[in-house]
């Protein structure tokens, strides 16, 4: 496939910073720098190479010339999407998202099924005063394992008297992954649907449960007046201000895994660590690659729906192995994608993977 280039690629100086930090380059056929180089000349790029990118954003964050290599990749993917030449699993995810507003194609009517598990009364956003919207990711909505996250957060909020509401079956995929897969038209539609929902219910702030949703709402929705934040930020505020009190200890060796979309792309490193540090007995360890250098779990950028050609050691496995060597008992995450990918590998090593809210719920007074 031939690709047209975006303007900024011409300023690339081929320094290799993108490739060097890329969680996929070097182990898969992906070489970010080479893709940018070829894109400058409109040269041939093997289609499959584009799909290794996990959209972790490392290249874009670090690029000294602000070329935004990941955007270059998304643009090139978009050419593939427009031509219809994409793998069936990606195709399915896109068609599902078009149809049911989630990539799994699960019924929209079951979007808020998790709410029944919470045991607390959850209001629709229209019935709230403060118009604080709790927005779940499609993963939270349909993956039974991840239901626990919205459940925990709504319990914590309800017990602390913080009002919030949900959209229920009107909730719709945020489109963060869709844009990264290259389906710009669909992203626009999702964005429009979401914005019209926010407007209809006069939403004032959005509590996002997934860093992916937070990222796109903050950076790609162009809603400057809307306050968007991640639940770890709110939880830390609640702990700091004594709204929730930690009453029990958690005697485990714990390592926190920085999600790409929360950490390196949005600079939220401290809040989750503050939360963990405020728990008695918990020993917080750090991975060798943490914070800005955190290792991507490979869940984003469409990789959840696409199986790459080559087989190689998964980052999640590398992560779990380091945790094992460090003697970590629990890997703590704050992103549903990380939870799914890491847990898959961690089970074998006997290491637990928990969402930060799960730990918090355990140690509350």
């Amino acid at each position: 496939m031939e690709f047209t280039n975006t303007t900024k690629v011409f300023t690339c100086i081929q320094c290799g910073k993108c490739t060097g930090g890329c969680p996929e380059s070097g182990r898969t056929p992906l070489n970010v720098r080479l893709i940018v180089r070829k894109n400058q000349f409109g040269a041939q790029v093997k289609n499959s190479h584009l799909w290794y990118c996990t959209s972790c954003g490392t290249c874009t964050v670090r690029c000294p010339r602000d070329v935004k290599p990941s955007e270059v990749i998304f643009d090139m993917r978009s050419t593939l999407v427009e031509s219809g030449d994409i793998s069936t699993s990606i195709q399915k995810a896109l068609e599902n998202t078009f149809l049911q507003k989630n990539p799994w194609g699960r019924a929209r009517s079951k979007r808020a099924e998790w709410a029944e598990k919470s045991g607390v009364a959850i209001k629709h956003i229209s019935d709230t005063l403060e118009k604080r919207l709790l927005l779940s990711c499609c993963v939270h909505a349909y993956d039974p394992r991840c239901h626990v996250i919205p459940v925990n957060i709504s319990k914590l909020l309800t017990y602390s008297g913080i009002e919030f509401g949900i959209l229920g079956e009107e909730e719709c995929c945020c489109g963060n992954e869709i844009r990264r897969i290259g389906e710009k038209g669909l992203f626009e539609e999702l964005r429009e649907e979401n914005i019209s929902n926010f407007n209809r219910y006069d939403v004032r702030e959005i509590l996002t449960l997934s860093p992916h949703c937070m990222n796109t709402l903050k950076k790609e929705y162009n809603l400057p007046k809307l306050k968007v934040y991640h639940y770890t930020q709110l939880l830390w505020d609640m702990i700091r201000e004594g709204v929730v009190k930690i009453g029990k200890d958690y005697k485990k060796r714990v390592a926190y895994h920085d999600p790409c979309f929360l950490g390196k792309q949005n600079g939220i490193f401290e809040e989750p660590r503050y939360i963990l540090k405020s728990i008695e007995g918990l020993e917080l360890l750090e991975f060798s690659r943490s914070r800005e250098n955190s290792l991507c779990c490979e869940g984003g950028g469409g990789r959840m729906f696409y199986e790459v050609e080559v087989q190689y050691e998964r980052n999640a496995k590398i992560r779990v192995e380091e945790a094992y060597e460090l003697g970590v008992q629990t890997i703590v995450v704050s992103c549903p994608f990380c939870l799914m990918t890491l847990e898959e590998q961690a089970v074998e090593k006997g290491i637990e993977v928990k969402d930060i809210s799960e730990i918090l719920v355990e140690v509350l007074e």
Binding site: T88, S89, G105, P144, E307, Q311, K317, E344, V347
Partner: protein, 313 residues
């Protein structure tokens, strides 16, 4: 008295078991069962039928939908009008039935899986088994029906005292469609999405050495081996065997999941299978929520037992 005309479901010289459903259907409706059969030595108990019409034609021509109209015309000429003409809901049965209905421009109901005799109402499933439609025929002449296999075979229990066998010459055969032959399935690359029967193994398999045993089991059962992501990640099986959102979405007739706990991404890739059988040590494994049948037990033991039974057979 009017009769039900069964167009036999035959293929490669065998008389398919599915025909029993057609006989059972006639029995419930209490109509005489006539059957149309092509040339050939079929292993069939003819006493089920009131009348057997042997057509002096090849099986392949018999199965050509372009001929069925003329055949039925000829039959009517000879034996009067049937009240219903029934086919099984097989690949060729459906093909012939729809063409025949159009030929006479008569009503047709396909894939009937139940009926209420008193009301003369037929049931057929719609929206992938989500609902049944209750349908009644209003026409005066005959209608064409196709019957889902397995729906009525238990009613194929009435024998006729007298079975008349008639030979009949075929009508002029259509030249617009001709049978060229069966396609010998060359041993091609495994495509798990096309397999009818998948044995899928998961993390529970434990060691690479165990894989061979499952390959053997699959061969014995003429099944295709697939796997969930952890097995693929370890490179114990090639990538194209992976079931799940990031692998392939499959819809086999039978999906035998062994040692798969049922992660969300995996379930999404196989939940539409017709019949899911799960084998897992953990009775709490989510896969049991999606399975039709379950065995709680060690997957290796089940494997070995099955192999033993199969070899013993």
């Amino acid at each position: 008295m009017s009769y039900g005309l069964i167009v036999a479901d035959v293929r490669k010289g065998t008389f398919d078991e599915r025909n029993l459903d057609l006989i059972g259907f006639c029995n419930i409706l209490e109509v005489d069962a006539y059957i149309l059969l092509p040339k050939g030595d079929y292993d069939v108990d003819l006493s089920y039928f009131k009348r057997v019409i042997r057509l002096n034609m090849e099986e392949a021509d018999f199965l050509n939908p372009l001929n069925i109209g003329a055949i039925v015309e000829k039959t009517i000429e000879k034996f009067g009008r049937p009240s219903i003409i029934i086919f099984s809901s097989s690949s060729s049965g459906m093909e012939m039935a729809s063409y025949l209905a159009g030929y006479f421009n008569v009503p047709i109901i396909t894939d009937i899986n139940g009926l209420s005799k008193e009301e003369k109402v037929f049931f057929k499933s719609c929206y992938s088994e989500k609902v049944y439609a209750h349908l009644r025929l209003k026409n005066e002449g005959f209608s064409v029906l196709t019957i889902r296999s397995g729906s009525f075979k238990q009613h194929a229990n009435k024998k006729c005292e007298v079975t008349e066998t008639e030979e009949m010459d075929p009508p002029t055969l259509s030249e617009k469609r001709s049978f060229l032959g069966y396609v010998e399935e060359e041993k091609q690359e495994i495509d798990i999405t096309k397999a009818n029967f998948l044995i899928s193994i998961g993390r529970g398999v434990g060691k690479k050495e165990e894989i061979a045993g499952y390959e053997e089991l699959a061969t014995l059962l003429k099944a295709t081996l697939s796997a969930s992501r952890p097995v693929i990640d370890k490179q114990w099986l090639p990538k194209e065997r992976q079931v799940g959102t990031s692998g392939k979405t499959v819809k086999p007739k039978v999906y035998l999941a062994m040692g798969i706990s049922g992660a969300f991404q995996h379930i999404a890739g196989m939940k539409d299978s017709e019949c899911i059988i799960a084998v897992n040590k953990d009775p709490e494994a989510p896969i049991f929520q999606y399975a039709h049948y379950g065995i709680i037990g060690d997957m290796h033991k089940v494997r070995d037992k099955l192999k033993e039974l199969l070899k013993g057979l």
